[in-house]
């Protein structure tokens, strides 16, 4: 018992130390922007103090509850990314700093709530169809009632509240898939039918896979949201692969996606435009490819060390504070800053996979793996998009982009991962 106590204490100290470093990054960033623009505002400093108090109290609450075994890297990494995000929001859109801070506080509370709630994750698997329904309904709401804000038709407006259902749908779909796949994994693996050289499972078992593929295609065409389509479809095939171990599914999924995408490319002009911009942005740098070309200019002008906060011109990129905030980081903080952000994400993803590998409940394993996959795909799509590594898709940068839905949803997701990481056996390092 004494040994466990000591280990718990070392995790606590580790998390506290990392949180303090992350807090230092936020303080430095906000002070740098304030001093450079000569607008040192006591309200902003008070808000900053409030935020730091918030995450430190969450740390204390979590480490003094009955479970003390959670991964000490999740919260500090998220706080560091939030710090960079808040600094950039203050620098790009000072008026939105207050709102973003409120969203961070809301997100932190959702994180805490999420940790407590998902400590009993196994019970949720009973409600898998409810989860699946909620996820699909949220996506359908976005498809049917979606309003175009800033180039994405993924917003739903309910009176004074605007939110992006797809950010939350992700969580429900992952829960559904995890529950469905733990239950059926054997059938997916063994019940097969032979179609010539192809060995495929019985159609009954690939029905959900086909359903989500169809949904993704609809999102692609109706919402013009290639990013979400790829994200949901990618999560589905990879989770099916994890459960079944059959690469056939992955292959089948990729073939289906290419058929669908090719048809869309041929049929819809806006898909062609997206792909053509990606293939050669310099053909129309002042027109269709304006955003991506400006993003590349920002990244290139930043170089290794960046222009320094407030000394660059990231405002030349349209929508810089949401989808293109990564390019702004690349310009003002240079490769030093942008690579720090990318490495932080890679660490979170690494720890998420580690949580999946250290838990023993099959359902929890699949949930954690699904969340890790969704996080990894999202990072790849958005950072790959703004650097022209991949066609541009409108997806937010978790914890950094301005926006409430994304902030809250990602904190819930992180809370789930934290809760799962608490399940690991006490002897795990």
């Amino acid at each position: 018992m004494g040994l466990y106590k000591m280990m718990d204490d070392s995790l606590q100290l580790q998390e506290r130390g990392l949180l303090l470093i992350a807090s230092l990054i936020v303080i430095t960033g906000v002070l740098a922007v304030s001093l450079a623009t000569n607008s040192l505002d006591s309200k902003i400093l008070a808000l900053l103090g409030c935020l730091i108090a918030c995450w430190l109290s969450i740390h204390l609450i979590l480490r003094h509850s009955s479970h003390r075994n959670g991964d000490p890297f999740f919260l500090p990494l998220a706080v560091m990314l939030i710090g960079i995000g808040l600094t950039m929001v203050l620098r790009l859109k000072p008026a939105l700093f207050l709102y973003q801070s409120i969203w961070v506080i809301a997100g932190l509370f959702c994180f805490l709530f999420s940790v407590f709630f998902f400590r009993h994750l196994e019970q949720l698997s009973q409600y898998k169809y409810l989860c699946g329904m909620i996820g699909i309904v949220l996506l359908l709401i976005a498809i049917i009632f979606g309003v175009d804000i800033g180039g994405h038709r993924s917003w739903v407006i309910l009176g004074p509240v605007r939110f992006q259902p797809s950010e939350f749908a992700k969580i429900f779909i992952i829960l559904f898939l995890a529950a469905y796949l733990t239950e059926r994994h054997e059938l997916l693996t063994s019940a097969t039918k032979h179609y010539g050289p192809l060995v495929l499972p019985h159609p009954r078992f690939i029905a959900p896979l086909l359903a989500i593929w169809g949904l993704a295609m609809v999102m692609f065409v109706v919402q013009r949201d290639l990013g979400s389509a790829l994200l949901y479809f990618g999560i589905t095939i990879i989770m099916v692969y994890i459960a079944s171990g059959r690469l056939t599914y992955v292959l089948l999924g990729i073939i289906l996606f290419f058929i669908g995408s090719f048809a869309c490319y041929k049929l819809y002009a806006h898909v062609q435009v997206r792909v053509d911009i990606w293939l050669n942005p310099w053909a129309d740098p002042n027109g269709k490819a304006y955003q991506i070309v400006q993003s590349l200019f920002a990244l290139g002008s930043g170089g290794i060390l960046g222009s320094g906060l407030t000394y660059g011109f990231p405002q030349m990129i349209p929508e810089v504070h949401t989808d293109f905030i990564f390019a702004a980081i690349g310009e003002e903080l240079g490769f030093a800053g942008s690579s720090a952000v990318l490495i932080s994400y890679i660490l979170i993803i690494y720890r998420a996979f580690k949580a999946a590998l250290e838990t023993i409940n099959p359902f929890s394993i699949l949930v954690a793996a699904g969340l890790a996959v969704s996080f990894a795909l999202q990072i790849f799509l958005i950072i790959g998009g703004v650097t022209k590594f991949f066609p541009l898709t409108g997806i937010t940068l978790p914890f950094v982009s301005y926006g409430g839905s994304s902030m809250v949803a990602n904190f819930i997701l992180l809370g789930m991962l934290f809760a799962i990481s608490e399940e690991r056996p006490k002897h795990a390092p």
């Binding site: 990244l299 170089g303 000394y311 030349m316 690349g330 490769f335 790849f380």
Partner: protein, 472 residues
């Protein structure tokens, strides 16, 4: 059983984790490629407006004249940026140029933009550290222009269209460069529509980009050529009866239809005799005529930041006899810029040596240290000191006893040549090229007044005012 499932899941998750994290690591290297390898391409791409914006935020260096008189200064515009102010307004409009966010830059503002804005600083790559000296203004540019002389030249042209170029014959330093009509660079944004569309092209810097037939001013070069080629000596007597029949159907005449009678080369130059110089051009022939133009550099670009338009020379091998004679008196299809004629005059003032004309003396850092200094450079040696001296004597005679009398100054000997260039666009252009004092030349000049009529009556008195100011 349970263990079995979880182990299988673990194995598959490991594979997925390696693949996805591997994908992100590839993205990491790609990001490094964009931000480090492609940095220069992206940062300096012409469509990347960051350099312009950065320039607007820094205080540009001051442009000063020969004596430190300010020609362009940056003053705060009240909103964190800077505004360019030109104390001499239209007087230095073409030389100094304008700097407009909307319409770009011209003149020194354009050619020395990197120095003036400080953006060509090699320490630019140090990132945020550079903000330590970012609030420093750009480098100052010192011109060879003498603002007082420039003002005199500007006023001397009055309301007429034309150009004046004054250079120091010994160094090639440009002392004054005026083009009329001019524009006010202080209000270029407001007056752009009027100025850019005006029929008399105020934005055109006529001194380096105006192409004109040189008329009789070219006769000094032909005189040097016939002496150099030993076609005639100073004692040869020509007989001018007012008309010269060339070929079956062309007759070259004197502009005032008078016969000059029996004259030598010096007298022919003094009265600007077309018959004599037409005859000499025919004797010189197409080849030697072409060689003469080459010797004086007319086919060679100046190759520095003067943004000069190159002269239009005829295709000599295809010239008819009549056209050859016309070329020799500065007519026909030949077109030159005023700066070239000032350089031609300066070569006779400087023992047959043409110096490289230049506009910038030095570039200095805000703390006064010299960043770049320009030293006079010999460009060409078209003539020998002896021949140049003979032509100089002839040019003194032009002023003392010929068409150039309008430039005579008491106590100072002036050398010159007038020209009255016929052109298809109306009245003749009035020309004067020359230098003073003849025994110790300080200034060489070319004056052209578009459609100004007789060179002796219109251009020569303008040159006189500039000589008077320069030699005070």
């Amino acid at each position: 059983m349970h263990l079995n499932i979880t182990d299988k899941f673990y194995k598959n998750i490991r594979g997925v984790a390696f693949s996805l994290i591997g994908l992100l690591v590839i993205l990491f290297f790609y990001l490094a490629y964009v931000q480090i390898i492609q940095e220069d391409f992206l940062a300096n791409h012409p469509l990347n407006h960051r350099a312009l914006e950065l320039a607007a935020k820094t205080q540009h260096g001051t442009i000063v004249d020969l004596h430190g008189e300010k020609l362009a200064v940056s003053i705060p515009d009240g909103s964190g940026g800077f505004k360019r102010k030109y104390p001499y307004g239209p007087i230095t409009g073409h030389v100094v140029g304008y700097d407009s966010a909307k319409y770009g830059k011209t003149g020194i503002e354009s050619t020395y933009s990197g120095d003036l804005t400080g953006l060509n600083n090699p320490l630019r790559h140090l990132g945020p550290i550079t903000s330590i000296w970012k609030n420093q203004p750009g480098n100052n540019v010192g011109l060879t222009i003498d603002a007082r002389l420039q003002e005199t030249a500007y006023k001397a042209l009055g309301t007429k269209r034309g150009a004046i170029v004054a250079i120091s014959p010994r160094t090639g330093a440009i002392l004054a460069m005026v083009s009329k009509p001019s524009f006010d660079p202080n209000s270029i944004d407001q007056s752009w529509d009027t100025v850019s569309q005006a029929a008399d092209s105020p934005l055109l810097n006529r001194s380096v980009q105006g192409l004109y037939p040189p008329g009789s001013t070219l006769k000094v070069m032909i005189a040097e050529a016939v002496l150099a080629e030993k076609i005639a000596d100073r004692n040869r007597i020509f007989n001018c009866n007012g008309a010269l029949k060339i070929g079956p159907d062309y007759i070259l005449t004197e502009s005032n239809h008078q016969a000059h009678g029996k004259i030598n080369l010096e007298e022919a130059l003094a009265v600007s005799c077309n018959i004599t110089f037409g005859t000499l051009s025919l004797e010189l022939g197409r080849n030697r005529m072409e060689k003469t133009f080459e010797r004086y550099g007319f086919n060679r670009p100046l190759g520095n930041d003067l943004q000069e338009l190159s002269s239009r020379l005829p295709d000599f091998s295809r010239l008819s006899d009549g056209e050859l004679a016309q070329t020799g008196i500065g007519q026909g299809s030949l077109l030159v810029t005023p700066i070239r004629m000032a350089m031609l005059a300066s070569s006779f003032a400087n023992q047959g040596i043409m110096m490289q004309p230049y506009l910038v003396n030095q570039v200095t850092a805000p703390d006064g240290t010299v960043v770049k200094r320009f030293t006079p450079k010999k460009w060409l040696q078209p003539s020998s000191p002896q021949l140049a001296d003979i032509i100089k004597q002839m040019m003194i005679t032009v002023v003392n006893a010929g068409t150039g009398s309008g430039t005579r100054l008491s106590g100072i000997s002036v050398a010159g040549k007038t020209g009255t260039a016929e052109n298809p666009h109306g009245a003749s252009h009035a020309w004067f090229i020359g230098f003073a004092p003849a025994d110790d030349p300080q200034i060489a000049i070319a004056v052209i007044v578009e459609n100004g009529g007789s060179g002796g009556e219109t251009a020569a008195p303008i040159a006189r005012q500039i000589f008077a100011q320069a030699l005070r």
